[in-house]
Each structure stands twice: as C-alpha cells, then as structure tokens.
Subunit: 217 residues, 2 copies
Amino acid sequence: MTNEFAFSDPEIAGVYRAIHQRRDMRHFRPGKIKTEILHKLLDAAHHAPSVGLMQPWRFIRITSDTVRKSIYDLVQEERTLTAHALGERESEFLRLKVEGILQCGELLVAGLCDHRERFIFGRRTLPEMDLASVACAIQNLWLAARAEGLGMGWVSIFDPVKLAKLLNMPAGAKPIAILCLGYVDEFYKNPMLVEEGWAKERPLPELMMENTWIDTE
Amino acid sequence: MTNEFAFSDPEIAGVYRAIHQRRDMRHFRPGKIKTEILHKLLDAAHHAPSVGLMQPWRFIRITSDTVRKSIYDLVQEERTLTAHALGERESEFLRLKVEGILQCGELLVAGLCDHRERFIFGRRTLPEMDLASVACAIQNLWLAARAEGLGMGWVSIFDPVKLAKLLNMPAGAKPIAILCLGYVDEFYKNPMLVEEGWAKERPLPELMMENTWIDTE
C-alpha cells in the first residue's frame, strides 16, 4: 500500500538522521549563529504540539555577558550540590563536562509561562502536560539544529528558584532548561555519558510491553 | 562559513517539513501499520535524549481489543469530567473530537518507569526532567510518523491512577500518554483546535524575551 502522505526518501532519511545523530552537546567552538538560522530554530520549537494549544513555552535569549556569567555560576553551584548528593560517584561526576555555557555561540533559557492554571483542556488530571509541551518544543529545536549542523545541550543542573529570580520571572513561571547552542568541532558518536562510561544504554525491547506492565528492572 | 555537519538540503527540508506538518490527529482510517515501520518509529522514540541517560520511557503496545475498549471508556469518563470543569465552554468542548482510540491502527501507552528516585543526575532540583525525557521520545515518534505519512494523536484526557491500574503498573510508574497512531485520510492544515475555533495561536515574537522576563499576557 503506497501512502500519499509519506515524505520523499531523502526527506524521511533527514528526519531519522536528525533523530539518530542528535547529541546532548557540552563542547562548542566559538561562532555566532546567523539570525536567520536562529529564527528558523526558534520557529521550529514554536511549532511543537501543546496541550489544549496552550503554547506554554517562553524563550529568553541571553545576550548579556553578565547574565550569562551569572547563569554559569548558578550551574557551578548546583553541580557541586549534585556531586555531593551522588555519594560514591561524586568524584566521577565532577570529572564530566556537564555544560558549555561560556563557550556556546548562543544561550537560551526555556521556561513555562505563568497563569497556567487557566488551562484545563488535557490537564485536569495531568497538569504536568505543560512541561511535556515545552519539552516537545525543545526537541524540535534540537533536531532542527542538528540538521543545520549545530549542536545543542540541555542543562538542567540549576536551582530553578534562583534562576527564576535572576531572570525576574514572576511567581507561577518556571525555567526548565538552559540551552547551549552553537557550532561544534564534532558531534559525539555516542551519547557523551556512554562515551565517558557514566551509563550504559538499554536496548528498546527491554522497555517495551504488550497490554500489561512487566517488570523492567 | 560552510558547516561540514549540516545535512543535505532535502534532508534539512524533511526535518522542517515534519516539524511544520505534524498534527495532533484524532481522525484515522483503518489499516494496520507494518511491523517494520512500527519498529522504526519506536526506535526513533528510543533515541530521544534523557536526563542522565536514565531512559525513563516505557511503551505498552495495546493489541487486545478488550484493553483498547477499557482505555476508550476511561477517556470518555474523564472527557465528561473535563467538560464539566471547563464551565461555560462545556458544550463547546463536548463537540470536539478529542481522541481516535477505536479507529487508529495502533494504540500505545507511554509511561514513566518506576524507581526513578535512583536517578539524581540533572534531577536533584528538577525531578520532572524524567517527564521531559519521555515527552522528547514521544515527539521523536510523532515526527518520524509524519515523515512516514502516518498520523499520531497524544491523548492526555484520562485519570492516570485508573489507567495505571488497568495496565497493572506498579507504584512509582505512571502513564502519561495514550498514543493513537495510524493512517489518515488527510492531515489537518492547521491544528485541529484552531480549525475548530477552540483556540488561536500566538505568534512566536510574543513569547520571546531577552535577558529578562517580560509579561506576555
């Protein structure tokens, strides 16, 4: 059965290639991203699905070096606390590069808007669907960036209360991602945490079930 | 500056086309999806980023008509409660088609695994990053499906406690999406909620800021 809505073979290949070659980047080389490309990437994010069409995403572009440095400092602070919380893996964790905030060409903060309680559609029992929508927007941005040959890293090692305060976010709004975007010398062949020996990937069949839950531990 | 990591033009076009033409589908036509394609879509989901490489996603394929019908019933139940909670928009909401559970060729439930508290990396201050990872996986699946000419709908109108019980999920695990996947007669030109007059989309510039929060209301 042919499917009239299927993309052309190179277009399909592009989608899978972006999905498979996307990496969570922490290493960047200098270089500003063209305004036109940055707009295309943000527009891709903005075309994400959102629960009840609430479009809960907000993007703060960081162009001030002072604010960038303050964000970096917040991440360093939480990095130390996370390392400590990891206990026996503390020193192993501290050897990992967990962000590229000062090196990346473009720094963005993605967050949830305030006044989200107004939106009930698809959220009465699952209010966290607003976060899911922002995550989909970020994944769009990530895949589009990969296609354009740009790397992105999602940093979640920060205290959201402190970052919200730094960016003058109102009560009810919340930062959920520091996004480092820019040119790279190379894309990691495998996820960096695999290459560094931090974690192993599990194969898909272990995480698939049929009709009922099975223990995956 | 040429970028050696950029994809070919048709590949880039495929990525943007998937992002722009993806729709949250509620209308399906019958037809089973080939096993090979289904595997490619699930494999695309499985290549999502995940915080600390925790891979918190679990996918339950629903092949039992009895289970499918029970899921449908749960959604109908919550649809009524959501409609009531919407107050003055109750009857308007009830005119919308909010799911295609009984029509779609393939039904999946996506959820969060149990024992997530073991994972601290990137989650000490933002434990909800596990949900963000599953959302990225679902977005991958969605985009890959669109490229293959298949529609998908993410239904979040259900009580997660009741759906967890139906699927024998253990304490700590949580269903977050009922995914309807299948052939369609056509893709909506615009988001269905826009076409039906439920909501208007806001343009990207209204949701962008620089260095500091601005009120977007």
